[in-house]
Symmetry: C2
Subunit: 355 residues, 2 copies
C-alpha cells in the first residue's frame, strides 16, 4: 500500500526544515519498508499570496483531499502578509475544511534539552495537550460598528457545539484511557466566561460518566497556566478549547524546553479527510535563510504522521533517533538553539543516520 | 482627611487573611499618621447567597459607591455556589459597575521565595501586568440554542470598544513611561482571532504614536506565555485584554513563585468610583479554617491601596516589611506554603511589627 503525502513547505524556515523532515521519513520508510509517495505544492505561503492575492488556489480542496496526509512546514511572514490573512487563508482552512478537529501535542522533557524549570529531570514531565481545532474562539463571525469613530465597537463570537465539544472530549478520554496514569485535566474558565465555559464543564461531566476508570479534574485557564509551571508533573492528558489548547500547547513545550522542537498533529480521526502534521514553531523570519533552524519539530512531526498512518514502530524509531542524538549532545551536530555550532542539515542528517 | 474603607472578607481563607491585612493597614496608618475608617460588610460571600439567593443586596451600589476604596478578601466556594454565579454576582459586578477598568498586578522575584524557574535571582524579574478589566471576553451576551439536543450550540460574544481599549492602553503606556526601561508588551492573538484582535493591534499602534519614548512589542498569547517562562526578564509592562490579562497575571506570579502572595488592584483611575484591592489567590476552600493561609497577598494589596489613596511611603513601608520578613526566613513565622511551621497570624503579626 502506498501512502500519498502532500508536502507544503510554507514560509521562512519551513522551507529549510522540510528537507530534513523528508530525509527522516525516507530513512524510516527504507528501514521499515513503507511505501511513501510525495507531491510538493508551491502554494500555502506568503509569496504565493503576493503573486495571486490568495494563499491557496481556488481548487485547493480538490487538489488535496485525496492525499493520505499533509506534511506542512510553517506559514506566515508578517512583513509580507498580515498573519490573520496568511493563517486564515491556509492552515486554518485546512484544519476546518478537512475537519481536523483534534490538535495533538506531546509535552515531554527530553534528554539533553535544558528546561527553564528548576529541578526537573527527563521523565518528570510527560503529557499530551489535546486541543479542539475547528470551532470555539477561532470564529469568523462578528464585525465592527461605528467604524472610525470614538464609539467604535468590535464583536467576535465564540461558537461551541455539542458535537464539537463531545468529539474532542471523546478523543481525549480515549487517549487518557490508554495511559498508565489514566488522568484527564480539563481547561476551563467558567468562573469568568459565563456561557460557553459552564457549557464546556457540563459536557466534560457528562463524558466522564462513560469513563469510570479515568480520573478527571479541571482548572481555570489562569491557574492552569500557573500549574504548568509549578506542577508540570500533575498532568497526563490535558484537554482544552481551541484558544486554551493553543496557549497550553505552546506553554507546555516551553516548560520542557522543547518549544523549538515540538511537533503537532492536526487529526481527522475518522480519516474522511487527510490529517496534517507540522512543527509547533512558526516560520521564524528572523533566522530564515541562515540554515540554522532546528529541524527536530519537523522530524518529530514526521514520526507522528507515520504513527497516524499505522506505522507505530517507524514513528518510535524516529523519536528514538531524535532522543539519541540529543542525549549524545555533539556540538558539531546540534543547531545554535541547542548550544551547538551545527546546521539544520547536520542535525537532520545525524538523526536520519540514526534511524 | 479620613479615608473610608469598605471591608468585604468574602469566602474561605478570605476571612482568615483579612484580619492580617487590616493589622498591616493599622500599623502603617499609625506610623504615617493616616486616618482610616472601616466598615465591614457581610455580603459578597457564598453563605450570603445561600441565605438570600443573591451575592449582594439590591442596594449594594449605593451602599458602597461613596467609599474611598474596597478592601476585598477572596470569593467563591464551588461546593456551595457555582463559581460563575458567585463571581459574576460579586467581584465582576464591582469591577464593571464601579468601572474599575484597570487590573494591575506586579510580578516580581522576592527575596526568600523560591521561583520554579531555574537560574533566576531576585531582581531579574520585575514587571507589571495591566489587564483590561470590564469588557472583552468576559461578556454577558450570548446564549444557547437547540438545548438538550445533539445540535446544541452555545455562543458568547467578545465585545471590545475603542473607549475600553484606548483607556487601558493609555494607563499602560503612562506606566511604562515612568519606568526605567520604558518598555511595553502587548498581548494579542491576531493570527487566530480575526476580528477583535487585529483591532486591538491597531489601537496599540495608534496609541504608540503618542509615546515615542516607549518601545513597544507584541506577542501572540500562546508564545507570550511561553516567553514568560523562557525570558521573564524581557518584560517591563505587559498589557492585555480581560482574558489574556487574567491568564498572564496568574502565570507571571507563578513564574516568580509568588502566586500565593501576589496582590492586585482593580482601579478606577478617575476616582469617580471606589477602586478595589484584593489578593490574586482565591478562597482556597481546601485549606480554609486551618489558620495556615498565607496573608501576604492581602497585606501587599493593602500596600497598593494606600498608594492609590496617595500614601506612597506607607505603601512602600508595607512592601519593605514583607520583603524583610521573607528575607529573614524564620520558619516559626512563615506559613507552610513558604516551608515554615507558622500560621496566618504569626506571619501577619511579624509583618505588622516590622512596619
Ligand atoms: C475569579 C475570577 C472570575 C477572576 C477573573 O477571572 O477575573 C480571577 O481569576 C481574577 O483574576 O481576579
Ligand atoms: C499560527 C496560529 C494561527 C496557530 C494557532 O493559533 O492555531 C498556531 O499558533 C498554532 O498553534 O498552530
Amino acid at each position: 500500500m502506498t501512502h500519498r503525502i502532500a508536502v507544503i513547505a510554507g514560509d521562512g524556515i519551513g522551507t529549510e526544515v522540510m528537507p530534513e523532515g523528508l530525509r527522516a521519513l525516507e530513512a524510516a520508510a527504507k528501514r521499515f519498508d513503507i511505501d511513501l509517495e510525495y507531491r510538493h505544492f508551491e502554494f500555502g505561503n506568503c509569496d504565493y499570496y503576493l503573486e495571486h492575492g490568495q494563499m491557496l488556489p481556488d481548487d485547493w480542496f480538490d487538489q488535496l483531499k485525496d492525499f493520505d496526509a499533509l506534511f506542512y512546514g510553517a506559514v506566515g511572514w508578517p512583513e509580507k502578509v498580515p498573519d490573520h490573512i496568511s493563517l486564515w487563508g491556509s492552515l486554518l482552512q485546512f484544519r476546518r475544511r478537512f475537519d481536523q478537529y483534534i490538535n495533538l501535542r506531546p509535552c515531554r522533557l527530553m534528554p539533553g534539552i535544558k528546561s527553564p524549570l528548576a529541578d526537573r529531570q527527563s521523565g518528570d514531565i510527560d503529557f499530551y495537550v489535546v486541543r479542539e481545532n475547528t470551532e470555539g474562539e477561532y470564529s469568523s463571525i462578528g464585525g465592527k460598528m461605528f467604524e472610525g469613530t470614538e464609539r467604535e465597537v468590535v464583536i467576535q463570537e465564540t461558537v461551541m457545539t455539542r458535537t464539537g465539544i463531545d468529539r474532542v472530549l471523546k478523543y481525549a478520554f480515549d487517549l487518557a484511557q490508554t495511559r498508565p496514569r489514566k488522568k484527564l485535566t480539563s481547561a476551563t474558565k467558567s468562573n469568568g466566561i459565563s456561557i460557553t465555559m459552564p457549557y464546556w464543564d457540563e459536557r466534560v461531566e457528562e463524558m466522564a460518566k462513560k469513563y469510570p476508570e479515568v480520573s478527571v479534574d479541571k482548572f481555570h485557564i489562569d491557574i492552569l497556566t500557573a500549574n504548568f509551571v509549578m506542577h508540570p508533573d500533575w498532568f497526563d492528558v490535558v484537554v482544552g478549547s481551541n484558544l486554551f489548547g493553543d496557549i497550553l500547547s505552546d506553554l507546555g513545550p516551553a516548560c520542557t524546553g522543547t518549544i523549538g522542537v515540538a511537533p503537532s498533529a492536526n487529526i481527522n480521526p475518522e480519516g474522511t479527510f487527510p490529517s496534517l502534521f507540522e512543527p509547533v514553531h512558526g516560520s521564524a523570519p528572523d533566522i530564515a535563510g541562515k540554515g540554522i533552524a532546528n529541524p527536530i519539530g519537523q522530524i518529530w512531526s514526521a514520526a507522528m504522521m507515520l504513527e497516524h498512518l499505522g506505522h507505530q514502530e517507524a514513528g518510535t524509531a524516529i523519536v528514538d533517533a531524535i532522543e539519541s542524538v540529543l542525549a549524545e549532545g555533539d556540538a558539531q551536530t546540534l543547531t545554535p538553539d541547542l548550544r551547538g555550532q551545527g546546521s539544520t542539515e547536520s542535525l537532520g542528517k545525524a538523526i536520519a543516520e540514526r534511524i
